[in-house]
């Protein structure tokens, strides 16, 4: 199907696009090109002199074991956050959908507070797991778990995973719920008459019909886990203990801002940028082909 408006010339469309183009230029292309340029430079710690060194920053980065460790941490962290937040949100959405089937917008609006509450509760998590004062931290310790995210890297990772997951559940929940509500009731009823048990209905009808939503959320959640969790990590563990919770995006900040290695940090951001572009490309590719039914 062709959906194309016909314009007389080039002037009007360009004029109409100008604000959008300006915003994109100023806030994306300009900093992005700066980062690329920076990544070819070596700058001394005081920012007094710079020198062009080509791909040296990349070479150094890719030969440092610390970088690979961070990649590993990021992969583990992102996988856990994505899988957990998607599956928990799906379970919640399925429960909510059962009780509000066919009740329209009104009930959906009623659901919102429930959806938003987890984000608020995320703050509580921090308190609850605070090693010396937190209720759950003390509970865990009384169960024999020596809970100490300040010293134990695995505990620290578990803590940021939980917090990051918790923060993302509400978002996923809303999308899953909307997806579930848009599945025609008659299709589910037809499956019931066709002898499919509720569990079988879920796996053979609901989930496949939800797959466009799920795939969209998968990409969004991976991007979230990669980039938007900077704040959580910074506030809770600052990448520690001994870099156990240092993800790629946190390392960019740490090396560039605190370590003063602007060139290396810029090289890292360029690599991150490539990853985002790849993810977005995958999203556009697949969401329109494979997953759509």
């Amino acid at each position: 199907m062709e959906k194309r408006a016909i314009y007389g010339g080039l002037a009007l469309p360009l004029l109409l696009l100008t604000p959008q183009l300006l915003v994109t230029l100023v806030f994306f292309y300009w900093p992005a090109s700066q980062a690329v340029w920076q990544s070819f430079l070596l700058q001394d710690a005081f920012g007094l002199s710079t020198r062009f060194i080509g791909l040296e920053n990349y070479r150094e980065l890719l030969s440092s074991p610390g970088y690979y460790r961070t990649i590993g941490t990021t992969a583990l962290f992102s996988t856990l956050v994505t899988v957990l937040s998607l599956s928990i949100a799906l379970v919640l959405a399925v429960q909510a959908d059962k009780s509000i089937r066919g009740a329209g917008i009104y009930r959906t609006l009623l659901i919102w507070p429930y959806a938003v509450a987890p984000a608020v509760a995320g703050v509580l998590w921090l308190f609850m797991f605070q090693p010396s004062l937190g209720v759950l931290a003390r509970g865990l310790r009384s169960l024999g778990v020596d809970w100490n995210p300040l010293l134990n890297g695995d505990h620290a990772l578990a803590l940021v995973v939980m917090a990051a997951t918790w923060k993302q559940i509400s978002y996923n929940f809303l999308f899953f719920l909307a997806g579930l509500q848009s599945i025609p009731r008659a299709v589910i009823e037809a499956a019931a008459i066709d002898g499919a048990s509720p569990t079988r209905r879920f796996w053979t009808i609901t989930l496949p019909l939800l797959s466009p939503t799920a795939f969209f959320l998968l990409v969004v959640n991976i991007v979230y886990a990669f980039f938007d969790t900077f704040g959580i990590i910074d506030a809770m563990t600052s990448g520690g203990p001994s870099k156990a919770t240092e993800t790629l995006v946190y390392k960019v900040f740490f090396d560039g801002r605190l370590g003063g290695d602007l060139g290396g940090s810029a090289a890292q951001s360029v690599i991150l940028m490539v990853i985002v572009i790849a993810l977005t490309a995958v999203q556009f590719r697949y969401i329109e082909r494979k997953v759509a039914y």
């Binding site: 025609p184 008659a186 299709v187 009823e189 037809a190 499956a191 019931a192 008459i193 066709d194 002898g195 499919a196 048990s197 079988r200 053979t204 009808i205 496949p208 019909l209 797959s211 039914y293």
Partner: protein, 356 residues
């Protein structure tokens, strides 16, 4: 295949809507029953209770000899065709049809044999590899039928299956469904608001109004002897005319528009006010033997028929519609002589709407 029976079935939705107010119905094995009535009269609710998709507030539903009130839809041995077809959008046509068989653990060779058989019957063999979105409305309709047929259930339930099709396709599918049902003989309950579908398809016709079954009869009986004014006006197109009238002093005649007409049947309560019904196609036009005259307001030429809307030239000037066969060169404002014959009259109580 099985008979089916409803005994005083009621449905009250949460919130107090009384959608079905006690319907009893006997469906013999292999019969084709049509539930017809205006939108919102409870047809779908009744059908969905039979399917097990709605709980039954009171009364019993029996399929064969088994009371199924508390049986899951999957175990009622019925198949349903939905208004929007409700095909599984992510499955190919073959898998749509095979789904119910596979759920019941049928072996793949038998599944294939059954699906191929149904596909042949419905002439959709070349569509088996397509997804529902690649099908036209008529083809989806066939697939939905196929999905029901492969199961070889005790009964088919149809909920307005043709209402999303264009007029021409609707006529074609109507004939096909009827023929198919006669060939395979599966007991069927068919919901529609279309009185032509109802009249042409039904062995037994149930006319519903506001949650009750007003009349359960053969289509012919319902057309010829409607039991209430509601049934009389709902079945037949254009609708039956209703005229205010009075019975004569001896109760053996009726005065319509000031003209007495002798009745053929027994005597009625003398001198009471009644409603007289007369179908537009049973009004005889012509100067010979005319009893009344009609002032023409509007003429509709349908090609095969001419429909005249006018008013009786008499005090009260009741509206009257006349259906004439063929093309009649009439004009608004003309006066048409007509005859109302006693055998064409249906007498109703004006307050209860019941046939007298």
């Amino acid at each position: 295949m099985a008979s089916l029976s409803l005994d005083n079935v009621k449905k009250v939705y949460p919130g107090g809507v009384e959608a079905v107010k006690g319907v009893s119905l006997q469906v013999p094995d292999r019969a084709f029953v049509v539930l017809v009535g205006p939108s919102g009269c409870g047809k779908s609710t009744l059908l969905r209770m039979i399917a097990g998709l709605e709980t039954i507030t009171s009364g019993t539903v029996k399929i064969g000899d088994r009371i199924v009130n508390d049986v899951e839809p999957a175990n009622r041995d019925i198949a349903m065709v939905f208004q929007n077809y409700a095909l599984y959008p992510h499955m190919k046509v073959f898998d749509n049809m095979a789904y119910g068989l596979r759920n019941r653990g049928m072996g793949e060779p038998e599944v294939k044999r059954r699906v191929d058989e149904a596909a042949r019957l419905l002439e959709i063999g070349q569509l088996l590899d397509r997804k529902p979105r690649q099908l036209s409305g008529g083809q989806r309709q066939r697939v939905a039928m196929g999905r029901a047929i492969v199961r070889q259930p005790a009964a088919f339930l149809f909920d307005e299956p043709l209402s999303n099709l264009d007029a021409k396709l609707r006529v074609q599918m109507r004939v096909e469904i009827k023929k198919l049902q006669r060939d395979i003989g599966t007991t069927s309950i068919y919901v529609t608001h279309d009185q032509v579908e109802a009249m042409t398809m039904a062995d037994i016709l149930v006319v519903m109004n506001a949650g009750s079954a007003e009349q359960i009869d053969t289509p012919r009986e319902i057309y010829q002897r409607p039991r209430t004014t509601f049934v009389a006006s709902f079945i037949g197109s254009p609708s039956m005319n209703f005229l205010p009238a009075k019975l004569t002093g001896d109760g053996k005649g009726v005065i319509v528009g000031g003209v007495p007409i002798a009745l053929t049947g027994g005597a009625h309560a003398a001198a009471s006010t009644i409603t007289v019904g007369v179908r537009p196609e049973e009004i005889v036009v012509g100067a010979d033997g005319a009893t009344h005259t009609v002032a023409i307001d509007v003429i509709e030429h349908l090609g095969a028929d001419t429909i005249v809307h006018g008013k009786l030239v008499a005090d009260g000037a009741a509206a009257l519609t006349v259906r004439l066969v063929g093309y009649w060169p009439l004009a608004p404002g003309e006066i048409l002589p007509v005859a109302l014959h006693a055998r064409a009259l249906h007498l109703f109580d004006p307050t209860t709407g019941q046939r007298l």
